[in-house]
Symmetry: C2
Subunit: 378 residues, 2 copies
Amino acid sequence: MKFIIQRDRLVQSVQDVMKAVTSRTTIPILTGIKMTATTEGVTLTGSDSDISIESFIPKEEAGDEIVEIKQPGAIVLQAKFFSEIVKKLPTDFVEIEVLNHLQTVIRSGKSEFNLIGLDAEEYPHLPQIEENNKFQIATDLLKAMIRQTHFAVSTSETRPILTGVNWNITNGELNCIATDSHRLALRKARIETDHDASYNIVIPGKSLNELSKIIDDSNEMIDIVITENQILFKAKHLLFFSRLLEGNYPDTSRLIPAESKTDITVNTKGFLHAIDRASLLAREGRNNVVKLAAHDDGVIEISSNTPEIGKVVEEVQSESVTGEELKISFSAKYMMDALKALEGTDISISFTGAMRPFVIRPLNDESILQLILPVRTY
Amino acid sequence: MKFIIQRDRLVQSVQDVMKAVTSRTTIPILTGIKMTATTEGVTLTGSDSDISIESFIPKEEAGDEIVEIKQPGAIVLQAKFFSEIVKKLPTDFVEIEVLNHLQTVIRSGKSEFNLIGLDAEEYPHLPQIEENNKFQIATDLLKAMIRQTHFAVSTSETRPILTGVNWNITNGELNCIATDSHRLALRKARIETDHDASYNIVIPGKSLNELSKIIDDSNEMIDIVITENQILFKAKHLLFFSRLLEGNYPDTSRLIPAESKTDITVNTKGFLHAIDRASLLAREGRNNVVKLAAHDDGVIEISSNTPEIGKVVEEVQSESVTGEELKISFSAKYMMDALKALEGTDISISFTGAMRPFVIRPLNDESILQLILPVRTY
């Protein structure tokens, strides 16, 4: 194998596939990045066996030569060293050559690295996925949907299925749901498809988080292919595979109350900042819990009290408070997570009593909701 | 105590004195910030008993009212909570009031905090320092001198005196020296003084590091007063006290070779980058050691070799190599620290043999030098 490549493109691809590489693997070859040169260009692969990422660097793009292939071939190089090296090479073009079998030379200006590679034949094959049933979604919309749901997955392995985000695809609508059983995030959107297959899968939260880091904020379409135990995201020059979680995701539809007894409309930012301040003294005391009292006159009082430290009272003037007066306690962290995930300047919160889950929505937007279970303190 | 204060000024002062506050103290009141209001303004104090910082906020400045004192007094508030609170308050002005004895109210817009304070009478007094023998130095020069020396102090407590920077003041010249016994950093400068007292003191490296974080990069003069066991830095509205280390600092003057057998002049940046790359494979292998070979033709070869990973060879074209050919090994980290501390585009390195300390200096600048002990490998 021998080729000359633009350093910036190589650095970008290495960074992308590095997202799948972990040093904590029991399969030694997965600590490496696989590099394959063909007459078409160079393909990099990284994998931790849960996530696999493939990044392709074409020979040329828009008339610009990116890679000059001198001899096709393949090698696996230690990801930790290779990624540090390419970032720090001195010249714009880099030559990579595999000498007798595994010895790999990286040349750039007056800098020459000799790395001992691993046999590319021993690198696990990525899943072969048939691309019959494809969906399409805009990349920036996908990123938003991930951002607005994945934070609510469970971080505990006691119910592994809750560490994933439930994707439900029916009639051209994608429903993303995440819950750790104390709060729930839900986001819907239309997706493009030319078939009517339905899916109900659970994608590891970590996979979605890594995916959202490497796809860009463009409105280009990304292809999605789902198989029995894998999902493939296919963007330009990028393949992202994730395994799916096994098991049944709980039915969450019954959790979301259809009616409400108290409704608040309030400016998102002012409310978020008041919760943030009220939680400053709560953080130590009792697990970050703040109290909210909604009054007839539209004033919302948020407070917390930790005897040995002190107390705080915040007043927020709402747009409106309708229905019964209310006192309720909840986790300030869950509320702030939810508010940061919502878009829009005003939100409405619908309560059905101090001990029932409540729902936060942007005004006039049915595509997203956040649900939080209160804490018993009043 | 009661006053109204500009929030931004309060936030800045709290951040400054926080540099001295640690939660790992055996004296509970030192986890707090002392706040004293007089008719002149408000003084904040933080201390970990090694370092003490006092920041003064005047009643008014350039005709602008900064503090409105309603009632003088003093209180100590938990630093961790107080600093978080002031940063997040919603309005530009903040009211702080001590009610019956220790209960302190912080008001800002519709936000009201009640903190339980500690008795200011119990806060330790800062050292009383007589300001007879003062020195003066420009703030930006002081910052540079700290940056160029403090990194070389020892991080090990086996010889506590080496965790400090030796300041030697004689005949209006300040000599700063730091060494961990493997490398040494030296920086000299003229200082302003109206007396001829000499000093030879050792300031904890940590104190100087914190000091350099809170003084600004201006050319305003800073006053320095030295007592038997304390040093005081006095800038506008800021007092910074540090204890001095006890014991005799080793005589380092004999360490610096007066002659040389090989001299190299090289571009600082190119040399630094080559060392950095050569150390990439060395980091794991043998404690970050790289080899340097200086050839007659002016080529400097930097290399490292870790059998199980690979090897790297860098060539740097020097400005000049004079004297004997040389092969030497040293810590890449020490060399990079030294190169980053030096100013100027070109440096000269003077060697007196493969097993002797060598000296790095900027070209045509006698005020600074870095010395490194080689490692025995060739």
